[in-house]
């Protein structure tokens, strides 16, 4: 019987017990019957193997039972329940990390490990590794964009001065001739301006509203009094858009590459215009490869598909099942293969191979297996295999996930390469009958447009593949001949949200080949492994040593109240680690220092409370009143003190970077938790002490 079914039956038993007790005891009816509700829901969650709902409901069920006891009073029982629930949830969040690489060695069953994704990982400075910071050269991207406008403006001017007409690009002669009328200059700096000067021969009234209309959306302009000199500047919001796009694109590309290398533990993050890549490990050769691969320009290619040859069909017939890699199967689809005499589409079934990624396998590993197998095949001359990532949608949750890779038979010749693509942009489809749809508008350079015209003419109703860095990204069907250098690719899905996402993705793919976002390394840190190991040892020793001394002191100084304080400080540490684990934060040295500091503040809160209670006792109050008053009066000092620290933590997290940010995050988490542990957790103990077992005559605080 699977574990979650056993747990479900435990819930069932609790359901029955609670129901019976609630029926028999009138006084306990409310908590007990609430408990039965939780148990029923928890049983359902356990049965369908939903771990966290099951855990939360389980904790709630037990809390309901606890609230039905007779201990102290209901308020106290509820507070104690909250503390216990938080502790339990935190323990489960932290359990796998405790098992893995801490000195604690708390064995965590595989069943829990599979269901809890939270891991506390050691940061780069503790493990050693490489940290690369790349800066996106936004100015370069803006300049590129400006140069596009420059070209557009010249074309428009050629039309305005009747040197050219039609949608085609103007000829070289027309451009030479244009210089007699007008000159467009793109200064080296600032990179966002264009200067248009009209000669005496030109009629300034030609630069009218209609001409300006085309540029109004992205450019602002000013003119001289005689309207012969114009200054155009890219609008600020357009610049922001360019910046965001450049950074997003660069990040996407770097992510792909890091993925491609199979670096599972590498992390890619962005901050303003910086893209930060962190790779743990020590292998110098790896680092060299990473640096090299990241700084390469993306390679975008368009290749035609060969759907006429059913090559995979032959492979499938020849293959014996034993030699195929695990999870590989041959599937069939219907592909368009051109037009017949009546100009109707011909469809032909073709076979392709699909490899399903294994349960414990990454998508990248599945591709490696696929490639290994493909290397044993011999495609026909001038043909090659391309691989595309396949997604599958879970019919229940509608969640999409990567399921494996499929093949395409491609013509080896790259008809169009990235430098022939001018621009690509995802746009909403405003045609009739396509509510909310999206497509990708694609513009080619002169040369690219001509080639694309030729290809589309010869291959109507056939598919071609868009390939980025050797991975097939999309296989659109050519519907008709496309002349004039611009095309649009519509998305296959019916769901507009999926269409938008796919369009954005394809836009990025096409642009990364066309407009490589210029990135340059701006900072590099290599942390040697010996440094990392030393740091871990010293950091842990420092923390443990310092912590033990403080705990011991508190016990000596405050006796039993000191033990309560010690408990809440240790719990504080434990909860902080659990919260950091759920954030997926990595522990760095400044992070550990932040942890130590908030532990100090948690000690402070407890000291404030204990001193207050002591004062009240000295003033002759009863133990119960002293505790009540002590907490009440210490509250404002604790909250004010912690909140001011929280303020600097938040500011640091907002404006800080790298190590400072790690420090700030632990500070924020720690301060929040220490308010909880000081005001709620220790209070629960104090109340149990003074009120739990009859009336306490004397409270001894050191």
């Amino acid at each position: 019987m699977p574990v979650h079914h056993i747990i479900a039956s435990v819930f069932g038993a609790l359901f029955v017990i609670y129901g019976v007790v609630g029926y028999l005891s009138r006084a306990r009816r409310v908590p007990m019957w609430l408990g039965t509700l939780c148990a029923a829901a928890g049983g359902g969650a356990a049965y369908s193997d939903a771990f966290w709902p099951m855990l939360v409901l389980g904790v709630l069920t037990l809390c309901a039972g606890f609230c039905a006891t007779r201990l102290v009073d209901l308020g106290w029982r509820m507070r104690a329940s909250i503390v216990l629930s938080v502790m339990t949830l935190a323990f489960f969040a932290l359990w796998p990390s405790l098992d893995r690489d801490s000195g604690v060695r708390l064995r965590c069953p595989a069943w829990v490990k599979d269901r809890v994704d939270f891991r506390l990982v050691a940061g780069l400075d503790l493990r050693g590794g490489l940290r690369l910071v790349y800066t996106v050269d936004v100015e370069e991207a803006i300049k590129d964009k400006r140069d596009r406008y420059n070209e557009d403006m010249r074309t428009s001017l050629a039309k305005v001065f009747d040197l050219h007409s039609g949608d085609e690009r103007p000829t070289e002669e027309a451009m030479v001739k244009l210089r007699e009328y007008a000159k467009v200059e793109a200064p080296r700096r600032p990179a966002n301006t264009l200067r248009l000067t009209l000669t005496d021969k030109a009629d300034p009234s030609k630069i009218d509203a209609r001409f300006l209309e085309q540029f109004r959306s992205d450019l602002t302009f000013s003119q001289s009094a005689d309207k012969r000199e114009w200054n155009f500047r890219i609008k600020e919001e357009s610049e922001t858009a360019i910046r965001e796009r450049a950074v997003g694109q660069a990040r996407e590309i770097i992510l792909r590459r890091v993925d491609e290398l199979g670096l599972r533990e590498a992390a890619v993050s962005t901050r303003d215009e910086d893209i930060i890549v962190e790779v743990p490990g020590q292998d110098e050769k790896d680092f060299a490869t990473i640096r090299e691969i990241i700084s390469q320009t993306a390679r975008l290619e368009f290749k035609l598909l060969d759907d006429d040859t059913d090559y995979m069909g032959e492979v499938a017939r020849a293959a014996s099942s034993g030699t195929l890699p695990e999870g590989l199967e041959f599937l069939r689809e219907t592909a368009p293969v051109g037009l017949d005499e009546n100009k109707d589409q011909i469809n032909k079934p073709v076979t392709y191979a699909f490899i399903k990624k294994g349960e414990k396998e990454t998508t990248q590993d599945a591709l490696v297996r696929m490639r290994e197998w493909a290397a044993t095949l011999e495609p026909p001359p001038d043909r090659e295999l391309g691989f595309e990532l396949v997604y599958e949608t879970d019919p229940d949750t509608l969640k999409e996930s990567e399921s494996g890779w499929r093949t395409y038979l491609l013509r080896s010749r790259a008809e169009i390469t990235g430098d022939m693509v001018r621009d690509a942009i995802a746009q909403p489809d405003q045609g009739q009958g396509s509510l909310g749809g999206w497509y990708v508008g694609l513009q080619f350079t002169d040369q690219g447009g001509k080639i694309f015209d030729r290809i589309t003419t010869a291959n109507v109703k056939r598919r071609f593949a868009i390939i980025l860095d050797n991975r097939v990204e999309s296989t659109p069907v050519i519907l008709t001949r496309i002349a004039g250098g611009s095309a649009s690719i519509t998305m296959g899905s019916n769901d507009p949200m999926v269409q938008l996402r796919d369009a954005r993705k394809l836009e990025l793919v096409l642009r990364s080949g066309a407009l490589p976002a210029p990135i340059s390394p701006s900072n590099e840190q290599r942390i040697g492994p010996s440094l990392g190991a030393d740091s871990i040892r010293l950091g842990v020793q420092g923390a443990v040593g310092g912590g033990l001394i403080v705990l011991l002191f508190m016990f000596i100084y405050y006796k039993r109240a000191g033990l309560i304080a010690d408990f809440s400080v240790v719990l504080n540490l434990f909860l902080q680690l659990a919260v950091l684990a759920t954030f997926g934060a990595s522990m760095t040295l400044p992070g550990i220092a932040g942890l130590a500091l908030t532990l100090g503040m948690s000690v402070d809160a407890n000291v404030l409370i204990n001193e207050r209670i002591r004062e009240e006792l000295n003033a002759g109050k009863s133990p119960r009143a002293a505790v009540e008053l002590g907490y009440g009066k210490a509250l404002s000092a604790i909250v004010d003190g912690q909140l001011t620290t929280l303020i600097s933590g938040v500011v640091l997290a907002q404006y800080g970077s790298g190590p400072i940010k790690g420090f700030a995050v632990t500070l924020i988490v720690g301060v929040t938790i220490s308010i909880f542990t000081a005001l709620v957790v220790s209070r629960v103990w104090f109340d149990l002490w003074v009120r739990g077992f009859g009336r306490l005559k004397k409270l001894d605080i050191g």
């Binding site: 340059s520 900072n523 000291v607 640091l652």
Partner: protein, 407 residues
């Protein structure tokens, strides 16, 4: 156990003048030190290249300095790092980054015949580059030519440029795109150059194959980091001040802010005088000190506010004495335990960790001192000097009560 018996009132305010003088002198000395000689800014803020190397036996810092100088770096900073496992571990810092200066840029453009008004004899058409781009990180030059370039010739031309070191290997320069004749020339990073220089000057045996750590920050990134750090300090100051003004009274805010500026300035001053490096970690430490100092001050203020309502007919100064005495155990226990746990880091830690702990310890001690001898005396002085006479009848809350107390 109890360090200070309850009910005892210590006369803190008696020595406030002497303390004010000491604090003032320390602040002035720190400000002077911050301007001259100035803090020892780390690579984080200055930009530059930094490597840490575990050398073999018998290498002195003078040898290293000489070796670094003779490989073409000016003004190297060589610091010995304490490390039990690597007795000869040194940190070498140079100002140079792999960035290419404006002059070098012009020279590169000249060598590759880029621009207008070229001498046709030296620059025949097929040798003219139509585009010269230098990456901001200074690790590569990309060139575009009219016709297929001779890569060996490009390499030769590039290596003629003074101070430009090409990365060794066959694929350099690399023909990136055959269609539009785009060539990429890869340059050696400063870290590689430093290691090479050390190897040739000190001998292969004494220099390991790989440094322990390499770090470089472009000057632009350094300036950005510095500005972000200053900005974050300024912003948290404003927020903390606003919070105190909101939670207490307007006249408490200046005292708290003076105290925390006092702590931050003197901490940086002491670090400057100790010639410790000021870097991002220091900024984190200083921000912690600010947070801690305010925490400490606010807790004491809280008690003063409470006593203002409770104790009548006493002077503000004696009221402060009472409040401080009541809080004395707490203040000392909290700072004591925190300093203690930091001492463990200071004693056991190395490098960054040690400096971080040291900064915090200095700051915490100052923070405790300042909430007793700076924040409250300043508030009292302010109250006596300005509020007492300017506003004889205050409207509300603690302010009015303190008014009664002083009269």
């Amino acid at each position: 156990m109890q360090f200070f018996p309850s009910g005892t009132v210590y006369d803190f305010m008696r020595i406030r003048r002497a303390c004010a003088l000491v604090s003032l002198l320390m602040v002035i000395a720190s400000i002077v030190a911050i301007f001259r000689p100035g803090p020892n800014l780390g690579t984080d803020f200055k930009g530059g290249t930094e490597i840490e190397v575990a050398f073999g036996e018998g290498v002195s810092s003078d040898d290293i300095r000489a070796a670094v100088r003779s490989s073409g770096f000016s003004n190297p900073d060589v610091v010995k790092v304490d490390d039990e496992n690597n007795p000869n571990r040194y940190l070498i810092r140079v100002q140079e980054v792999s960035e290419i200066s404006e002059e070098k840029r012009t020279e590169i453009e000249r060598v590759f015949c880029y621009g207008e008004g070229l001498d046709p004899a030296a620059c025949p058409e097929d040798k003219q580059a139509t585009e010269v781009k230098i990456s901001p990180g200074g690790d590569k030059i990309s060139l575009r030519f009219r016709s297929a370039p001779d890569l060996a010739e490009v390499r030769e031309r590039a290596s003629k440029i003074d101070g430009l070191a090409l990365r060794p290997g066959d694929g350099n320069p690399l023909l990136q795109n055959a269609r539009d004749h785009k060539v990429e020339v890869q340059l050696m990073s400063r870290g590689d150059q430093l290691m090479n220089g050390l190897r040739t000057n000190l001998g292969e045996a004494k220099v390991p194959a790989e440094p322990l750590r390499v770090e470089w920050i472009g000057p632009k990134a350094g300036a950005q980091l510095r500005d972000a750090a200053l900005k974050s300090i300024a912003i948290s100051l404003v927020f903390i001040m606003a919070y105190i003004a909101f939670r207490f009274d307007l006249r408490f805010a200046p005292g708290a802010v003076v105290a925390l500026i006092h702590d931050a300035v003197i901490t940086v001053g002491i670090l400057t005088l100790m010639r410790k490096e000021v870097n991002l970690t220091t900024v984190a430490a200083v921000l912690t000190i600010i947070g801690y100092s305010v925490n400490d001050t606010v807790v004491v203020f809280d008690r003063v506010r409470e006593n203002l309502g409770k104790i009548r007919g006493a002077t503000f100064a004696s009221l402060i004495n009472v409040s401080l005495s009541e809080m004395l155990s707490r203040t000392l226990i909290t700072s004591g335990t925190t300093v203690f746990s930091l001492l463990a880091f200071f004693v056991r830690g190395t490098g960054t960790l040690k400096d971080f702990a040291l900064t915090l310890i200095i700051g915490l001690i100052l923070g405790t001192y300042s909430s007793i001898y700076v924040a409250l005396p300043f508030t009292e002085w302010l109250d006596r000097k300005f509020f007492a006479r300017a506003m004889p009848k205050k409207r509300r809350g603690p302010a009015r009560k303190s008014e009664e107390a002083t009269v």
